[in-house]
Each structure stands twice: as C-alpha cells, then as structure tokens.
C-alpha cells in the first residue's frame, strides 16, 4: 500500500512543525525547564512523529519526507532518552574550585600510576647519567642541556645583560603552547591502550632524572632547585595529570574487571578527560609565565633561596588545592 503522501504531509505538518519548534527552543536554551504540561505535549508530539515515520517507512518509498522525519525523531529521541546530566551554563569559578579538583581526586589511582611511571623514568635517567655520563647526548637530546652544569651556572651568574630582554612574552607563549601540546599528546596516546602515555611519562621522567643527577653531580643542586622549582612544581604535576587522563582513557578501553560495555565506559569518562585537560592547560599557562619571567633569572638577580621558597609555596598551595578544594561539597557524577 502506498500512502497518500499529500494528505499524509498535510495532516502531519502541524505536528512536525510544533515538535521542531520545541526542539529548536530546547537546543537553544540548555537551561530550559519545561513545565509538566509542555513535557507531556513534547512527548506526545514525539510519539506522533515517530508513528508517522513508522507509517511512512512501512508504506511509502518517499525518501525526502522520510529523511526529514528521521531527523526530527532523532533529535527528539536524543532529548527524551538522554540520561546524562543536562549541560548547564558554565560557571568558571565552580568548575575551577569544585569540578576540577573533585575530578582529579576521583581518579587518584591513575595519578599515582602516572607519578610512579615518571618516578621510574627519573630513576632510570638518574642512574644512567650517574653510571654512564657519556650517555648524556642520548638521554638529553637538547643542546641547552648538554653544556657542563658548572660552566652554565658560572655563565648565568656572571651574566651582565638580560638575555631574555624583549622576548620574555614570546618565550612564555612558546612554553605554554609547546607544553600544552605535549600534554594533549600524552592524553591522546591513552588510545594506544596506554602504551603511548606510559612512554611519554617515562621519557619525561628520564630527562628530568638525568638533568637532576647531572647538576647534583656537578654540585649545583641549589642552582637546579632554584632553576626548576618555580615553574616545575606546577609544570611537572600538569604533565602527570595529563598522564592521569591518558591512563583513565586506557583503563576505560581495557575495561579490566568491569562488566559495562566499552561504549558505556568511554561515555562515563569523557567529561572527566575534558575537565582534567582544561585544568592542565591552566596550570601550564601559569608555569609558562613563571618559567619565562622568574625561573630564568638566577643569583645575584634573584636569590636561589627566594626562588626555592616560592616553589615550595606553590607546591603546598597546589597540593592543598588538589587535595581539599571542593572536598566538602557534593561530588559530581
């Protein structure tokens, strides 16, 4: 049987138009809360349109009308059957002080693992440089790190002119964007069942460990702390959190010990991944500023003790923030 399409469209159009109007309104206003009567009407319109689609699919070969109805039913279906929390207006302060630290704490095991992998990398890099100093070019393929630490410290401390004069802003922007890219890569490589994330974290640890031991062996521990701590106490945890996000993704992919299907597992974490990576971005903006405007200045311009103290304060504040902020408020989904 073929549907009398003209009659079918004439009869259905008012309903479809009303449904489309309601959908447009709901999609345009995420905070919209419909009164019960309108919710009932919406459901009624959805069922009517879905029935029209079923009728058309069964009795007619009219592709364009079918596509139109399919599109309408698909949108209404998404609105009605969506069980995730409705996206509301974004409140930056609430996100910063509550959502982000809560998300971090909810996946603290992944962070510990990220920390352990980096620590293993540090140990490897440190031991490698301690036992085989000739391996330095292999472990630290960056020209500015290959220099003899003592020589570098002497040069920095005796410098009479500001080598970053006029380029601090651009230097900090380059640091921010580069480190954020590395963090995104660390997260994204979680899709390799975590192998890529682990390699990134371990390699980061190797470089860090190698640099640290290289400077300590040269007796420049104080310089090292003064140089790295102001920005490092924020930058390194940021990379660790990016690693945490990558590992969360990997755990969801592997799904060991969980019965929920892959799609559900991935759906559960997508919000947390976004939250963590945006948090990482903020941390790296701060770290970029500090590295360009503070970390690169040494004694006699800025005393090492002041830089170390600044780093310690940052570390304590960061720890308190991640451990306590939003702790007494209701945890998100």
């Amino acid at each position: 049987m073929i549907v009398d399409l003209q009659k079918f469209i004439t009869n259905g159009q008012p309903v479809w138009a009303e449904l489309e109007k309601m959908l447009n309104r709901m999609e345009a206003e995420p905070d919209l809360r419909l009164p019960l009567a309108q919710v009932q009407r919406f459901h009624q319109l959805y069922e009517h349109t879905a029935a029209d689609l079923a009728r058309l699919t069964t009795y007619s070969s009219e592709p364009e009308t079918r596509r139109f109805l399919e599109n309408l039913v698909a949108r209404a279906y998404g609105e009605i059957h969506e069980t995730r929390a409705k996206q509301r207006r974004f409140f930056p302060l609430q996100w910063f002080f509550k959502t982000w630290p809560q998300t971090f704490r909810r996946h603290i095991r992944a962070f510990y693992l990220s920390l352990a992998i980096t620590a293993a990398g540090c140990a490897f890099g440190g031991l490698a440089i301690a036992f085989d100093p000739d391996a330095k070019p292999v472990l630290m393929p960056f020209s500015h790190l290959l220099q003899d630490p003592a020589k570098r410290v002497a040069e920095e401390e005796n410098a009479t002119d500001d080598r970053l004069a006029g380029s601090k802003t651009s230097f900090s922007a380059q640091l921010m964007t580069h480190n954020t890219k590395i963090s995104i890569a660390t997260l994204a490589l979680g899709m390799t069942w975590g192998v890529g994330t682990i390699i990134m974290l371990f390699y980061n640890g190797v470089i860090l460990g190698a640099v640290a031991v290289d400077y300590m062996r040269a007796g420049e521990t104080k310089f090292l702390l003064g140089w790295l701590m102001p920005h490092g106490v924020v930058e390194i945890p940021a990379i660790l959190i990016a690693g945490q996000a990558g590992l969360i993704l990997a755990f969801a992919l592997i799904g060991r010990g969980r019965r929920s299907p892959l799609r559900t597992r991935l759906r559960e974490i997508s919000g947390d991944l976004s939250t963590l990576i945006f948090g990482v971005g903020l941390m790296l903006v701060w770290a970029g500023f500090i590295e360009a405007f503070l970390s690169q200045y040494h004694e006699p311009v800025i005393p090492y003790s002041a830089k170390i103290a600044f780093g310690c304060v940052e570390l304590v504040l960061l720890f308190l923030f991640l451990a306590k902020s939003g702790a007494h408020e209701k945890t998100g989904p």
């Binding site: 689609l53 802003t169 964007t177 995104i184 976004s274």
Partner: protein, 263 residues
C-alpha cells in the same frame, strides 16, 4: 561488519537510520577546515603586524597563542555552535552525532578533537583514516573515544514527476477501482524500482533498457489485471510511467504531491 548506515532503534520500536560518512568525504572536509584555519591565521597575522609596531615580542606571543587556540579550538567551537558541523562538514553535508542518537555533548566534542593528535599520526590522518576504514561505523580513534559518528545528510534530489510523466494521458486512470487495488498491492520497494528505472533510463544501454522495462512492466501487470483497452498498444516504458503516476500522485492535479513543503 562494515555498513554505510547507522541504524538506531528507539525503545518505542521506531527505527531511524543515518548515512555514515566515508573516509574520503571526511578527509575532504578536514582539508577544507585546514584551509579555513590557515585563512583565519593569515588574517590574524595581518592584524598582529599592527601590534608588531609596538612590541615584536608581544606580536610573536599573540601569534603563538592564537595559532594554538585556532588550530585546537576551531573544531571544538564550530562543532559546538553548529551542532556537530564545521565549515568543511557543512559544505559536504556531514555532521557529528552521538553514536546512540543522544544529544551531542560538549565533552564529546572536546575529546574527539583532542584525539586528532593520534588520528593524524604519522602524517595526513593515516591512523585515523585506516581506523575509519576498518571500523564498522566509520569511526576514527577520536570518535571511538568520544562515542561519536560522522553522518552525511545528502541533498535529496526530488524526482521531477511532472517532467518524468510529461502530462500525457494516463489510460489507467479510467479505472479508479483498479488503480486503488494497484496502490494497495504495490510495496514501497516495488514502487521505488519503477520510479528509479524511469529516472535512470538514460544510463541504460537501449537494448537492455527495453528488456528491463519489459521485466518490470510484466511484474506490475501481475499485480492488477487492467482491461485490454487500457494497456493495448501502450509500450512497457509508458505503462511504467502510468504506474508511477497513479502510485505517486493520487490525483492527476496534485503534481506537487510527494514533496515536503517548507515547515
């Protein structure tokens, strides 16, 4: 199994389908988006040349940050504001949607765009392209992680029944009761075959076209037996035109039947 259609079945038992986008159309859309990003960066760079007059360092910093934000944020912003579409996707009529037909969430858009990093490895979205090709729903890694698919909404070419049927006398209409029975007996698939054969007549070899129309006409002759005076001397192709006319246009004057009016 790889299919070109995403079929979603609602709890009410309604089934709706969405055509999945292939790797080539997606890559083309991505290429267009890259051109848009480059254009935006060129404009941005030109504007920054004014800042350069005051401070070169500031100009470089702004450009570095601007480049980063535009290249990462372009997809996120457009897909969020345009409900799953970027400029490239809009031009190619593609759209990102939730794999289960749910509302596309901001987090999903962020995840699928951030994971472009792995999809673009080692060059030219090789990993993403291969994954998309192998995946049953045509998803790249970012889509898998975000539970999204890219669907295409092809522009439906509305058959011009007026031109197709040319307003000729339709002998079948002399027998409304038989026409009604024909409409009752013909399935949508059969009706579509008749319509498509007429729409695509120029694509067939002349000899094969005659054979094809003959076979289809025979099939419809079997559905309802019209009196000899209604079909004698009517060529198979004309008979099919008459069949399509009575199936798709309930009344001869309703030439616009079958077209969706703008709502």
């Amino acid at each position: 199994m790889k299919t070109s259609t995403l079929i979603i079945r609602t709890p009410e038992g309604i089934v709706f389908s969405q055509l999945l986008a292939g790797p080539v159309s997606r890559f083309t859309a991505c290429f267009i988006d890259q051109l848009c990003i480059q254009a935006a960066l060129t404009v941005f760079g030109t504007l920054l040349s004014l800042v350069m007059v005051f401070s070169l360092s500031f100009a470089i910093a702004f450009y570095a940050i601007g480049y980063f934000i535009v290249s990462i944020g372009y997809g996120i912003l457009f897909e969020w504001v345009w409900r799953g579409q970027t400029v490239g996707k809009k031009l190619l009529r593609l759209r990102v949607m939730d794999v289960e037909g749910m509302r596309l969430q901001f987090n999903q858009i962020v995840v699928r765009n951030l994971l472009r990093f792995v999809d673009s490895l080692p060059v030219f979205y090789f990993v993403g392209g291969v994954t998309c090709w192998l995946n049953s729903k045509g998803q790249r890694l970012g889509d898998i992680a975000a539970n999204t698919v890219v669907v295409r909404n092809p522009q439906m070419a509305e058959p011009d029944l007026d031109q197709l049927l040319a307003g000729k006398f339709n002998s079948l209409r002399q027998y409304p009761h038989l026409v009604a029975r024909l409409r009752q007996n013909v399935t949508p698939a059969e009706a579509d075959i008749a319509l498509q054969s007429l729409l695509r007549r120029e694509e067939f070899d002349p000899v094969q076209r005659v054979e094809l129309f003959g076979e289809i006409a025979n099939h419809f002759h079997g559905k309802v037996e019209f009196p000899a005076e209604a079909i004698d001397g009517v060529a198979d192709e004309q008979f099919l035109r008459n069949v399509v006319d009575v199936i798709y246009r309930t009344r001869p004057e309703t030439a616009a039947a079958g077209r969706v009016q703008p709502l």
